[in-house]
Each structure stands twice: as structure tokens, then as C-alpha cells.
């Protein structure tokens, strides 16, 4: 029998007249659970409740068996990667991690060891002495993930951890999350791109307007989405070359150039598209700086599911 690590029951959070969570009921874990929903669905609100930053107006959430409203005395069990890209800009990556580990009570030598290990896990060891102010958005994401896992927590809460990452970094982190889950940790990660979550787990909670609109096995949800085209925006320094490559793919139905460094493609097979794009990035023939699934089509699916 598997016991969920996080259970939300009728969780409601209001921001004045606006409902951030609207009777949200869902179970997460064990293992990896994806929380998928469009922008404004309430994903970050949910994470902030889990992190103790917000309190529920109604309902309850339990984390590892404890109510989220209880003042947490020891957080060694939870690692949190917030969505915001801001860090302590005046610090180097190593100082940042080491300081946080010291705040967790680790001795200097142990903090140093864990810091090195965590930076290696997110492939940032070579940038350990660089000031965070000079880090790209993708590097910031990886530092945030490193600080979330450096103290070896049981439960990782990752709010949009794959945002702004290039395809190679995404692939690297997806592998890392898989390894962490295999080693017994539980992960809840949010995304507005269903397909990247799908690469990690079948357990999924879909969220819209503060409610869970679908939960459980991903495949049924995916079948529904695969019947609809998906629009993806790719950032590159060579849009012509990328456009040529994309136009040659059988499943791509439309390619446009909305900006000097952007290419927007519509695909009938998102899964195949993301795999092919990852391959293209790895070959290095076309420099790809970022990938973003636009929300419009996904929201259409959410609306469909909500009906």
C-alpha cells in the first residue's frame, strides 16, 4: 500500500476577492508527482502554502503526515525551490549554498562537502566561485534546485524548476530528478508544460482556477491532448537555420518568426517535437537558448477537461 506524502483536502486560499486555491483536493506521491496547470492556476499558491509562506482560509493540507499550518520546527525533511529567479546576488554560488547549509546546522566542513556535491549534481561546479548576479536564468534555476536538495530532504517541492532552461539542462535535470526519486525521495514539481512532466512521471495532478481538474494516470489525459496541436516558442540566435530545420519535420504544421531571435512552431505531435528538438540542441548545429510551450492550446485542453 502506498501512502501519499502530501494530501490537500478542500484547500482554499483567498487573495481578497480572488481565489488562489478553490477547494483544492489532491494527493501527491510517493515518488514524483507533477502538478500541471496554466499560469494563474494556483500552483505557486499551493507551493507557498506547503512552504509555510501562506495560510489556508479553509480546508487542510498535510505534509508527511503533519498539517501545513503547524509551525515547522525542523525542515530537514523538506527542500523548496521557489519560482522566483531572485537569489542573494552578492554571493557566489558556493557561498550561497554553504551559508544556507550552515543555517541548517551543518558544520563548516560538512557544509562544504554537501555544497560541492549539490553543485555537481546540477552541473554548476565550474561556476561555484562566480557571483550569482552574473548567473543566467537557467543557472539560477539550477542553483535554486541545488539549495533545495543540498540538505538531503525527504520531500522536494519544485515550483516550475524547468523554466528558462535550455534543452540540454532540462534533460540533465530530468535525469537528476529521476535518480533522486529512485533513491527514495519524493518530488512534487509544477510545470505548465505537460510533456516535460510526462518524461518524469505518470502521476499527475492537473490544476485550473485553484482546483484539481484531473488526477492520476497521465496517459488518458495525454491522449486527449495529442489530438490537439501545440504551439512552442523557441529562442535561438539563428532563427533561419532553426526555421529550416523545423519546417523539415513532418509533424510540424506551421513555423513563424515573431521576433529577431524567436521561432514559433505548431506541431501535431508534441512528444516527438520535444524529443527531436532535444536532439537538434545536442548536435550543436543550431544554437537553442530556450523553449517555451505557449499556454493557449494547453488552456484549451484544461477548459475541455474542466467541462
Amino acid at each position: 500500500m502506498t501512502t501519499p506524502v502530501v494530501v490537500a483536502t478542500g484547500a482554499t486560499k483567498r487573495y481578497g476577492e480572488v481565489l488562489g486555491l478553490n477547494g483544492f483536493t489532491a494527493e501527491f506521491g510517493p515518488g514524483i508527482t507533477g502538478l500541471v496547470g496554466p499560469n494563474g492556476a494556483g500552483k505557486s499558491t499551493f507551493f507557498r502554502v506547503l512552504a509555510g509562506q501562506l495560510h489556508l482560509d479553509a480546508g487542510q493540507i498535510t505534509i508527511l503526515g503533519r498539517p501545513s499550518s503547524a509551525p515547522v520546527r525542523s525542515n530537514h525533511e523538506v527542500g523548496y525551490c521557489p519560482e522566483s529567479p531572485t537569489l542573494y546576488e552578492w554571493m557566489s554560488a558556493e557561498e550561497f549554498l554553504r551559508s544556507l547549509l550552515r543555517l541548517d546546522g551543518f558544520e563548516e566542513s560538512e557544509a562544504r562537502r554537501r555544497c560541492t556535491e549539490a553543485l555537481a549534481q546540477v552541473d554548476l561546479l565550474s561556476s561555484r566561485d562566480r557571483k550569482l548576479a552574473g548567473f543566467s536564468r537557467g543557472m539560477r534555476q539550477r542553483v535554486k534546485i541545488a539549495q533545495a536538495l543540498a540538505h538531503d530532504p525527504t520531500l522536494l517541492l519544485l515550483d516550475e524548476p524547468l523554466n528558462a532552461l535550455d534543452p540540454v539542462s532540462r534533460a540533465h535535470l530530468l535525469d537528476l530528478f529521476t535518480r533522486l526519486a529512485e533513491s527514495g525521495r519524493h518530488i512534487i514539481l509544477s510545470s505548465h508544460v505537460l510533456y516535460e512532466v510526462e518524461r518524469l512521471t505518470d502521476q499527475i495532478v492537473m490544476m485550473s482556477n485553484g482546483r484539481a481538474i484531473a488526477q492520476g494516470d497521465l496517459h488518458q489525459i495525454r491522449d486527449l491532448i495529442d489530438t490537439r496541436p501545440l504551439t512552442v516558442e523557441v529562442t535561438t540566435s539563428d532563427p533561419r537555420a532553426l526555421g529550416r530545420a523545423l519546417a523539415g519535420w513532418e509533424h510540424v504544421t506551421d513555423v513563424s518568426f515573431p521576433g529577431p531571435d524567436k521561432v514559433v512552431a505548431q506541431t501535431r505531435s508534441p512528444d516527438t517535437f520535444y524529443r527531436a528538438l532535444g536532439e537538434l540542441a545536442r548536435t550543436g548545429d543550431v544554437p537553442i537558448r530556450g523553449v517555451r510551450g505557449t499556454d493557449d492550446n494547453l488552456e484549451a485542453v484544461f477548459r475541455l477537461l474542466a467541462e
Partner: protein, 259 residues
Amino acid sequence: MTSQARRLAVLVAMTYRGTFVGGRLWISTLLAALPPVILGAFLAYGVTGAALISGFGNVVLLLVLSVQLPLTTLILGVGLFRTEIEEDTLPFLTLRTIARPSIVVGKYLGGWAAALTFLLPSFAVSVGVTAAGAQGASFPPGDLLSALTLVLLGSVVYLAIYLLMGLVTRSAVILGLVYAFLWEFVLRLFPGHIPQITVYYYLRTVAAELTAADPLGSYSTSVGLGAALAVPLGIAVVALVLASVVVGYVETAPGRADG
């Protein structure tokens, strides 16, 4: 050193270093330069000897106590938590095993050390400039102790008040300015007991109790040195206790989340 004390020391160091960035650094440096520059101007215009020493007292009262101290502590104090809340970096601290009250104390001590980094050199250079132009005259007994106590005690209490403001309201800077220049500045001009609801009243009383010489020593007050010391320190303690409660139990997220 206990485990919590070590964590506290780490947070003090983090906070201290984080203060010396951006606009805060430049404004605080500018404010720190003002008293010595003005005393230097006095000297340049031929004000020397006892007149310059009296000028030092007036600079302490009119510039340091009324402008530099509240503004420096406002700039540094408000940001201690507000910046972290707005930029959503506070969970990096609150999700650690360091106790919540220790987070408040650590940030406060780091901020206080940073404030003193601006205030004390400014004070020392001001004293040096005055001494250089004293031409044989000397500071009256207790004058320097009085002025230094104003700086230290004032920074203790104002920083705690602004830290709390930064924690509880997004409009902390505006509220802080209103407090510094309407509440503290205007109410002290009222007759009767009304000035007693300002921190200024107690700071001025302490200054007057420590020296008899004008201008620092001349202040009409109805409380003694003990009460004048206890009230600002009490206010600082209450502000920090309230801040600890806020950090422990009140929501500390920025505005409505997007995701």
C-alpha cells in the same frame, strides 16, 4: 558556541554583506558624509575653537539625530525583510532549521552592524574635523559620550522599528518617512507631554543627562536617565518580539502568486 548561536552568526554575516549593495550603499554613504562635510565647511569659513565645538553639538542634534540617523536606519532597516518578501527569497531562510526568532535577531544584528559601519566612521571623522579646528579648546565633559550614546541608542531603536515596518507592510518606506519626519519631528515640537510619545524625547533626554554643556545638554525633560535609556531599549525589544511573531505565524509571501 551553541548550534543556534552559530547559525545566528552566519545569518548576521549574510545580512551584513547583503546590505552593501545598490542604492542603500550610496544613500547611506552620502548621509554619512554630510556631518563631516558640514563641519569642514564651518572650518573653511573660519569657525574655530569653542564655536566649532558648539557647531559640532548642533550638527549632532540637527543633522545626525534628525536626519542621518532616522534615514540611514530607515534605508537599511526596512529592506531587511521587505526586500526578501518582495523578491520571494525569504523561504531560503525560513525553511532552514534556524529558529524563526533567530532569523529576526540575526537580520537585526546584521543590519545594526551595517548601520554602525556608516554611522561610526561618520561620527569619528566629525569629531576629528572638530578637534582639528578646536585651536586649544576642548570638548566639554560628557559631550562626546552624549553624542556617541545618541548614535548608538538611536540606531538600536530606529532600526528595530523600521525592521518591523518592513515586515508588516509593503508601504514601509512611506510609513517610515511619515514616522521619521511627521511623528518624530513634528510631535516633539508640541507643548506638554506630547513629545514623550516620540523616541526623540528619550534620546534627547539621555544626551542632556550625559553632558551639561550647550547645545546637547540643554533640554527640558521630566524623566531621568534610567527611564530615558529603558524606553528606547524597551521599544526595540517589543518591535523585535513582534517581528518574531510575524515571521513565525503571519504570511510572508509577496502579492498574489502567478502560477
